[in-house]
Amino acid sequence: MDEVCTGLCHLLVESGADAGLARFLSLLVGVLLVSGIPLITVILLIWIERKVAARIQDRIGPNRVGPVGLLQTIADMIKLLSKEDITPTAADRVLYNAAPLVSFASVVLIWAVIPFTPFHFGVDLEIGALYFVAIASFGTLAIMVAGWASNNKYALLGAFRVVSLLVSYEVPLVFALLVPVMLAGSMSLLDIVNAQTGMWFVVLSPLAFVIFYVSAQAETGRAPFDLIEAESELVAGFNIEYSGMKFGMFFAAEFLHVFTNGILMALLFFGGWMGPLYYESPLIAFAWLGAKGGLIYFTTLWLRNTVPRLRIDQIMAFNWKFLVPLSIANLIFISLALKVMQELGISPRDLVSAGFVELLPTTVVLLLINGAMTVYLLGLLRKRGQEARRESMAARAALAQAAD
């Protein structure tokens, strides 16, 4: 909200306001504008999520309150407002009350660096990507605090599991994030989007996108990584002792986090607002970003409602023995191939301002490398699956023999 800020600032100073106060007020307006977008979206997201889940499960979903149930969230909010709020006597009151605030704030804070159009953004931090990683870890902290402060065994167990899951999947997430940062030569999200004028990063490095997508799904605690809820095992996990509006805040934070990740993936890998006619008007650019982010968001909902939950040992083994080595190998191969091609003169030294035609040879080579890696990995997974099946067959046979 660059222009709004400076414009408002000038206006206030001209009308005789104190310069410091004018700057503060214009910053305040900027913050409220930027944070308003996620806060309004989240109300809609809850409805979308429920409606999509219902359709996938062959139900109708909310359809009573307002047209096609659009006002359902408002009704739910009013209901939550009138709910009694129970704080267990054994809990640590201060931390217990702080956890939902931190949880929601950690998601809203990410939006400070998200550019909505080429000209409309909160701030364009030079370290935007690193800022996102740092802020997202606050969400993990909130879960740990909530589980610990509840002083309930289920809550604590749930929190331990979830935190070990979130912390583990942060490693491949950041390794995948390093690829767009490397290709754009900048951590600023605005620069990363602008660097995709020639070619979207998802084409240059599809594997990095897949790794980021899977880790983001785990980071938000969605199926197949939904240990965060695990109703059948841990009753409700870390938020078991929460009720009323505090419980609602955890849920709102989760819904918003999923959508935020969708928008981030659109920015990092799908060229953000790039699309036909995006330069004509900021509104078109904004619509493109929303459409891409929304589409990715939809696929995460689809995945969530389709696949079953994994066991914790499977989840951890998949991360540390597959995803982390893969993300490191991906980073090494891409950076090595790119450097060799730059030395040979096949790909341009300056990737950022290179056009589509200049980048074409680079794209083909990187795609081939990615394809070869994918074929190798699928073979590896197939072999591993066959081994696992053989092992379980042998165990079953041994059991049958013992029974005889």
Partner: protein, 120 residues
């Protein structure tokens, strides 16, 4: 916007961000009923009384994952500047970054072979 202004924006955002979720909670505090009793505010269990505290020692496996994560987290912080400077990097800087990655990957494989990554 200059650098100071950027961080002033983030600072103000960080101050206001917890206020957004706090607002509905405070409004709920005004409207909600208050009828606490001993049973209601006791720790949740499956129909029986909770024995003892939940604030106990935890499994060492979580600690091991935490340690491995820490190694990689520090590594990643160093790799960000490496990735940003990638296009203008000399061969020396490029190889140095590679050695750094290999050293830490080595640590991962060590933990793997020691079965530290298995959920026990």
């Amino acid at each position: 916007m200059n650098v100071l202004n950027e961080w002033a924006f983030i600072g103000l955002f960080a101050v206001l961000a917890p206020v957004f979720p706090a607002l509905p909670i405070v409004i709920a505090w005004l409207f909600r009923p208050r009828k606490p009793n001993v049973l209601k505010s006791s720790t949740y269990e499956c129909g029986v009384e909770t024995i003892g505290d939940a604030w106990v020692q935890f499994r060492v496996q979580y600690y091991i994952y935490g340690l491995i994560f820490l190694v990689f987290d520090v590594e990643m912080v160093f790799l960000f500047p490496w990735a940003v400077a990638y296009n203008e990097m000399s061969l020396f800087g490029f190889v140095a970054g590679f050695l750094f990655i290999f050293l830490l990957t080595d640590a991962l494989f060590y933990a793997w072979k020691k079965n530290a990554l298995d959920w026990k």
